[in-house]
Every structure is written in C-alpha cells, then in structure tokens.
Symmetry: C2
Subunit: 153 residues, 2 copies
DNA sequence: TACTGATGATCAGTATACTTGTCAATTTAG
DNA sequence: CTAAATTGACAAGTATACTGATCATCAGTA
C-alpha cells in the first residue's frame, strides 16, 4: 500500500492546497469573477500598500519575485492594477490598484468567504481554528526554508 | 494591513505547500537525487501497484489526468519507470517501476523523512499529529471539491 | 569620482496543475 | 448487435513557482 506516502505531511499539504485553489476558483467564477487565489492576494496587497514595488509585494505575500511579474501582468491586463516606473528608483515598478480593482475586491469578497468556508467544511469551528493556528505556527518556523520567504513590510 | 488575507486558510495552504516543496527538493538534492515530491509520490505509487495504468495512478494520488502524463514522461526519461501499451485495454499505458526506480526509492528515503520532519519543525509531536489529523479530515470532507479527487484506495 | 556590491526587473527554461478538445478503444444501452 | 456513452491518453493553451542569467540602476566605499 502507499498509505505511508498519502499520509505524509507533504502530500497532505499538496492536497489541501489543491482543494483550496479549486474551491476558490469555482466560487469566484460562480460569482462572475475571473481571478485566481494568487491574483486575489496580490490585488489585496496592492490595495493595502499603495505605491508598493513588485519586489516588496513579492516579499509581503511570499511569492517568488519572478512569479510576481506574470501575476502583475495579468492584473494589469485585466485593468485591476496600474504599473509605472518609480521616480525615486527607476529600477522599480510602482503598483496601484485601479477603481475597477477596488470594485472587484469588494464584489468578490462573499465568494472568497464562501471558498474559505468550503475548504474547511469537514471541521467544526474549534477544529478549524486549531488547524489554522498550527499551520501558521509551522509556517512561521519554516519561513526561511522556503525559496520565497515572507519578508516583513 | 493585509493580515486578513495572510491568515486565510487558502493562503496558509499555499504557504505550507510552498515550504513543503522547497524542503523536499532541498533534502533530495543534498542526498544526490533529482526528484520532485510529485515524482516521488508517483514513483512510490507505481511500485506499490505494479501494472497500474496512468488514469488509475492519477486517481490514487489525486493528480490531474493530464498532469500525470508529464510526470510519467520524466520518470521514464530518468529510467525509473517503464511504460507500455496494455494488452487488455489498448488505450491504457501500463506502468512498472524499474530496478533503478526501486533503488532510488530506497536511497531517497532518509531525505524524504528529513524533509517531512523539517516542514514540521515548529511543532511538537502532539501538535504535528493534530495538524496532520485535521488536514486529513478537511481533505476527506472536501475531496470531491477538487478537480482531481482521490479515487479508490 | 570610480569601483564595488546590492537591488528591481526581466528573460529563458523546467515542472506542476489545470482547461478544453480530440482521438481511439472499450463498454453499455436499446 | 449496432449506436451511444464512456474512458485512457495526448495536444494546445494558461497560470503558478521555481532556477539561473542578464541588465539597469542605485548605494556604499575608497
């Protein structure tokens, strides 16, 4: 049997993430939005940190700096974010959320909430809280082991 | 602040999975193996189920049917798995682990164990057990919400 | 000031993970 | 027993997530 493999933390992490993405995309689509979890998180971060550059944004939500380029490309293409060269540092691209981006964040919120609930539907409130707490704890302790660690903003 | 986004289960799932993959690849590489977590799980499943076809393999470890094709391609290219057309069903590709594949699974085991330990290093034994139990429970309850649900066992 | 190093971003390349569509082979329905 | 539905696999396309390399710019120092 391969139960040993299927019960390893790495495999469970992959499965849970797989379900989380599926649920998010399904809820967003049902609500009429074409936004992935990654794009959503980036958009929310840009809103919360006006004028942030891509590298700082990547550190904030723990994305690889190469990956963030493509994500921002798509957000820009959808008109949710604007990107321009910084005046202080001409290497940097300064990001800002557009009015459409703001409306999108507000409008998609119920779908996001529904998705977060759906992926925990097998757990009661206490279990869900425990799972999130332990996930946070494990992540915090291993942050530096990731190739794209979270960097405080 | 974007703490609300960063503390959502979906984001934590992504971060934990991200760390799990990084740790696995790093440990495997340090041990002299070029194998990803996905390839490892597929290889272990092929060993445990001789003569399995790709679709059944995909269901067993909850991979997308299309994804498994590329994974098996790489395993075959590395000489870890052999693939041939089934005699009972000529649509199917029958998979078998090679001697090199078996040696690889044995040899990489310490690195896999080290990786699983590393990604839980922030938790004590009791917390780790709880996290895995709750992850399993959440996954089981939402299995069908995934695009590539686990099939059979 | 010139040099050195660090940093922001991008490009090319690889690997997952999924979509839709297609094809061939098999199974089931009528 | 044929027609319809299903299934296994692949192809093309998109999105995340990295590697390593390169380029431009900026910051520090000698």
């Amino acid at each position: 049997m391969i139960a040993e493999v299927l019960n390893r933390p790495g495999h469970l992490a992959r499965r849970f993430q797989q379900i989380a993405v599926s649920v998010f995309v399904a809820e967003a689509e049902a609500a009429g939005y074409d936004l992935t979890p990654v794009q959503y998180a980036a958009l929310a971060a840009v809103k919360a940190h006006k004028g942030i550059d891509q590298a700082t944004l990547a550190g904030l939500i723990a994305y690889d700096r190469t990956t963030i380029g493509g994500v921002v490309d798509r957000l820009e293409q959808k008109g949710l974010v604007s990107r321009r060269v910084s005046k202080e540092d001409r290497r940097a691209r300064v990001l800002e959320i557009t009015p459409l981006g703001k409306r999108t964040l507000v409008g998609i919120e119920p779908a996001v909430a529904a998705a977060q609930k759906a992926m925990l539907r097998g757990l009661d409130a206490s279990e869900a809280a425990t799972l999130l707490r332990l996930l946070r704890k494990a992540i915090d302790a291993s942050n530096e082991l990731s190739r794209a660690p979270m960097r405080e903003g």
